[in-house]
Subunit: 447 residues, 4 copies
Amino acid sequence: MTAADGLHASLFGESGVAECLSDRARLQAILDVEVALAEAEAQVGVIPAAAVAPIRQAARADLYDRSVLVREAPRAGNIAIPLIEQLTRLVASIDLEASRYVHWGATSQDVLDTSLVLQLRAAAPRLDEHLDRAAAAAAEHARGYRLTPIAGRTWLQQATPTTFGLKAAGWLDALERARRHADDAFSEARVLQFGGASGTLAALGANALAVSRALANRLELELPPAPWHAHRDRFAHLACTLGVITGTLGKIARDVALLSQTEVREAYAGEAGGSSTMPHKRNPVAAGVAIAATVRVPGLVSSMLSAMPQEHERGLGGWQAEWDVVPQILLLTAGAARAVADALNALVVDAARMRNNLDITHGMTQAEAIVIALGPHLGKRQAHALVEAACARAAAEARALADVLAEDAVVTGVMTRQAIEQCLAPDAYLGAADEFVERILSTWKRT
Amino acid sequence: MTAADGLHASLFGESGVAECLSDRARLQAILDVEVALAEAEAQVGVIPAAAVAPIRQAARADLYDRSVLVREAPRAGNIAIPLIEQLTRLVASIDLEASRYVHWGATSQDVLDTSLVLQLRAAAPRLDEHLDRAAAAAAEHARGYRLTPIAGRTWLQQATPTTFGLKAAGWLDALERARRHADDAFSEARVLQFGGASGTLAALGANALAVSRALANRLELELPPAPWHAHRDRFAHLACTLGVITGTLGKIARDVALLSQTEVREAYAGEAGGSSTMPHKRNPVAAGVAIAATVRVPGLVSSMLSAMPQEHERGLGGWQAEWDVVPQILLLTAGAARAVADALNALVVDAARMRNNLDITHGMTQAEAIVIALGPHLGKRQAHALVEAACARAAAEARALADVLAEDAVVTGVMTRQAIEQCLAPDAYLGAADEFVERILSTWKRT
Amino acid sequence: MTAADGLHASLFGESGVAECLSDRARLQAILDVEVALAEAEAQVGVIPAAAVAPIRQAARADLYDRSVLVREAPRAGNIAIPLIEQLTRLVASIDLEASRYVHWGATSQDVLDTSLVLQLRAAAPRLDEHLDRAAAAAAEHARGYRLTPIAGRTWLQQATPTTFGLKAAGWLDALERARRHADDAFSEARVLQFGGASGTLAALGANALAVSRALANRLELELPPAPWHAHRDRFAHLACTLGVITGTLGKIARDVALLSQTEVREAYAGEAGGSSTMPHKRNPVAAGVAIAATVRVPGLVSSMLSAMPQEHERGLGGWQAEWDVVPQILLLTAGAARAVADALNALVVDAARMRNNLDITHGMTQAEAIVIALGPHLGKRQAHALVEAACARAAAEARALADVLAEDAVVTGVMTRQAIEQCLAPDAYLGAADEFVERILSTWKRT
Amino acid sequence: MTAADGLHASLFGESGVAECLSDRARLQAILDVEVALAEAEAQVGVIPAAAVAPIRQAARADLYDRSVLVREAPRAGNIAIPLIEQLTRLVASIDLEASRYVHWGATSQDVLDTSLVLQLRAAAPRLDEHLDRAAAAAAEHARGYRLTPIAGRTWLQQATPTTFGLKAAGWLDALERARRHADDAFSEARVLQFGGASGTLAALGANALAVSRALANRLELELPPAPWHAHRDRFAHLACTLGVITGTLGKIARDVALLSQTEVREAYAGEAGGSSTMPHKRNPVAAGVAIAATVRVPGLVSSMLSAMPQEHERGLGGWQAEWDVVPQILLLTAGAARAVADALNALVVDAARMRNNLDITHGMTQAEAIVIALGPHLGKRQAHALVEAACARAAAEARALADVLAEDAVVTGVMTRQAIEQCLAPDAYLGAADEFVERILSTWKRT
């Protein structure tokens, strides 16, 4: 149910992240927290130093009977309780005295939250790596195609031209914001949970803060000012951040998928998938994976937000809802990042096709240039109306816009035929596209 | 990732449903569709009859290498393609000729959609069984406590009294609506998907409809007027219906959890979970499971709705997003149903505590009865104002409302002290509660 | 905040529905319930017959001071309380005695829920009308273009051909399911809410059911077995149904938008919107409205589901959350239906362009026909591999698939050049498309 | 539809924010952007300086005919186009020449996005003010009740004691994180949108960046490296941040509502709402408003994330979906902040009732203290089992836990009766609660 062990983990997820979030990794992370707890408590003198080694020895996930955990979970309400029971028995079989100090002073939520933090920390670099790969590929496209005209498209209609380089630079800029936000949110979530039954660490008496500090040090986690059992904003914020990143990846994937359409074919995925029935097809599988993630992650993020109003010191239902949702979000986001990185790296760009597609409208995508040229003479509104009428006529009669304009005395009173044609050349109407690419690339550290 | 094989499947899910939705069951269901397809095509004469037996022989999920599926899925874009490749090879090893007819005329989506329909059909009775168990328990409480006063509570404040029987009858009524809706939605979704590459079944030529009919018959599914690859409303509608059912279960679970509070304790779960640190606690684990489902399912439902606008004949991302989401919704809903059925069956009801809690306000919960009694004499607004003032005074002075009212000449001008006290007895102000219970029980078939 | 009075109501909404859901309509609907309540209570003899006329006289929304309601709402927690206070004062100014019987025995939620039911009932026919308009237009396209080939498209790639008629028939079939579901859900929600303070109607004593029946009769609403203050499944189910309908509308709108792309241009909206800067553009505004609805409605539906677990007899937060969400969902769905009906009715279909686009791949979209033709001779897998290789070569060398195939001895050993070309003609590979159109049209009542 | 002008704006929203987000404010903000654009272009020399004054003169929202905007919006696809048309006409009536330079070089999305940024900037301080008020009240409670024992509650069951001060300090800490995140997200969103038709500013030729800089300066907004029409992560991130803040507010509101229950009554809202039928009731209206927000906002946030994959240079449906959703989220978050600030400031705390409620379990909430005390002697597991049994017996026999323990020879072998009782005193088992309060207060700037 955590998303990391199923048939689809390789399709929608990312292998490294899936490994960090697998059931086995979850159990090991809980056991790691128990070991660190025993070490910290021995260090402070709360439990005997001799108790640590047996606990450490028993804390290997593969020693545990998964079927017992699964059977006991519904009674206990979580998997930590039966796992700790098994751990205690196992420690007892090594050293009865040591078994008395297993999980000393902690509550289930302490080890479940903290172990999730450890899993997230382990997985984070893989997400970053793919975002970085995607950004590097986008940067390459931005540099390589900074002067390559392509139809700008708004409302799925060709608008004035832009460059493929600027499109790719837009992706790059968004990916860099994504990486920065991921970094911040993972950092903020890298915090110890340790409060005992009601968040007071009463069971540790005067040693509460000393043990907390030692535990945070051993796990290399931030020590928060106080336990935060029912305050879930850090995890929610991380989930949201991953949601925004998925949205950015989905935007790029959608662009790629639209450019790959049979009728557009300006860029397409070299690695694309086959079809069981249509040998000619090259399906944009990677883009599909990222788009699927943008369908799934928003709902999961809303679940994280809905889970937030948790009752009193520890909640009923809200907290439990997070257990599978946080890993699913991360796995889907990492899968989308992997897919987009793959797609951008394997992207075959067809600049000639871009140029050809710009000619579909016989010059109308550059119509605005004429409006601008006529504006100072006729006023923007009149210029707009005149060009709108000329476009309508060109479209109706399937003629080049330049030809229609050249017949209009109002236009020729202001512009020569040559000026009209210069105006309508895509390369002549790219505005600040190149400067924008430069601004984005110059802030990208590896340019 | 389908939710059915993970560590938490036993906690948040339901074992029978989890089995129907496991990775293994998914593979088997796809293989079952391939077998039925071969049978139908042989029956119509599209493929040789001799091809069927080898295909049937090879169609056992445990013959397949899961790791190959997982490895190939990202290239193919789904698990059906590599599974069919393995199937074809396996059939070829039995009978080379037969292997030519594997998956004949079908597309991946045909077998993925239809196999999901089969899985849903297999799982549906388990959900119904738990809803039925929950309803039966609610009916028992409704009958058993039809005259037992309990504080009505609105805004989490005690309001006028009601009966525990009516509360339980409200649960019953909602559960019966839930069952009826589940029945309708599962029935509507029990429909064949079969359209080939673009939904025309062109590969089957003139036999298209004959094969479709034969296939629907063999699988005991409805034959729709046409393939529906990119029209997902039936699945979306089923997902929504499960979402509403989860909401109803969550409402019951929340009531149970609130009644179980240490300070209220009017009813509590006998089967409740222990705590790793607090031996006195009896956690309402089952209620928590259902509440967690109500946190998770709404987001999953919104994903199903967001997935609906699928492009052209078969979509890019939207369809793929459904694969794990539909099973997750069903598993969580079934888990919530199981949990609520368990909770209601194990519910310990404390009628005495209900009565005691009604006395907390010293009669104020029945204050409305006084308003009603005074109304015809003073008008509703004045009566309301008078009683509001009396309540404020009773609260401020911590006295019984009857005593305060008995000092008010306006009141005593209309009612005797005895009439005031009768008015303020909870049992005397239960309105049509019993009739409402009767109306609900009488529509419940097993009463 | 109810969505019906804002600047965007005409863009994203529907004027008739907006009127039914306006602030003014909401106030009037509450007042209508108050009048019907007085009439029912007078009929049963609970209040004097003479009280009815003054209440009826005062129950006109335009007599009320909206600013007072807005000011008082935060104190009262809803708008019904201050509205009833104003109503009572107004009645008192007409007939002091009558004012004593305003809102007799009811609670705020009774009139808020029931008035919302009345508003929904009033608005429902407008939604149906637009769905019907959309269905009629889809039926017309299905009939008119039943034999018109168009590229089937999966993963946004051209697949085997289908017909524009079948595409439109698929829309029609889904729209008809949408209408049927809307009808069911609106019917189910047409139910009286009447329970008084805690759902027992205690204030009405023995007359509770008689008044309930009379009130349901007057309002022409179903009388439920019991009040359902905290059981919200009917509204949630309606919200979900509208969510599914919006999804269906979004699927159609997305198809239209994709067909309208400058590079595809097989169909486009005649009524399309202009651009402030690009005179040549014809933006698919109506499609955009419907797609925007599919982005917004899923989240709103999830809010309705999240709102369901309402506490005890009347909830704290969940119910209140519904007030603006239900109207928003309906308004957006109706707006999407209006937009899709407009788009389909104004759709300009370019069959020649459909045919031209089919030629982009030089026959590859019909490659499956060759696989099918070769299959019986070579086996499906080998045939698939052969054709896949031929397609790759045709694509790489930009040649017609027929030419490449005609050079392959394995192919020509089985098929003549003419047979190859016949196989690759789009019209020859439409399978059961026409039968599917017929099946759908024949179930459509007005064919 | 923007949420700010409806009947419920005062209940669920916040007056100052509603004003910033009203239809009127939206129109004015668009007009403000047009004025700043003209000024910037005149400054750079793109348009004549004389054009500015007439544009400025015409740019007053109350000069515009709202009904025309509403009527034209569906044709144009947004309200900016008809507004700019009206503006141009109005300027023309003042100075025909100036009217030629209205909206020069910009596209609708430039002014719609930038004007929304201006509205958000105007509204942000009001949210911060309420969060600050809430934090100050929480700090006051944290200080005032730092040693006041209250039952810690987990799973809605009494657990070991904590202090009301620590509960309030937890609120404070979360509110401070909320403020910090709000500040960051609003800052990041304070960025100019200016790209013209396709994001290249081609219409401005070589002056593109100079005008951009001048415009950003005039509006006091950040100049991004490039236009970001289809990259919505900044708005999505802001929406998410507001979603997390709403979740934090909902958690506090839920705590307050639960503490206010008639049966708990440890703290309650002094400003609570009345009831139309139950004069004794004090409804926690403010808490209800915040909880309603936590039901509504998660779905709205998911819409913002779903809207992100916007097509190419400007999207179709996704962008349009944001227009009403961003304001709704902010309005609901601000309303929740206002409500929680009100609730915490008006909170009546009953420390005696807290102490009384701790006695409900006859000492069992402190049972853990006995486990801890016995642990070193018996081992944690045995100690746990012994105390669990003693609790069960105490509960079954309705006796004090101390009495039951005092009869157990194993216990008395280790502890005296007096030691048992000391162990079971709530004040003696508060752990590091006070230190945690101190740590939180010390990071709060105004302590």
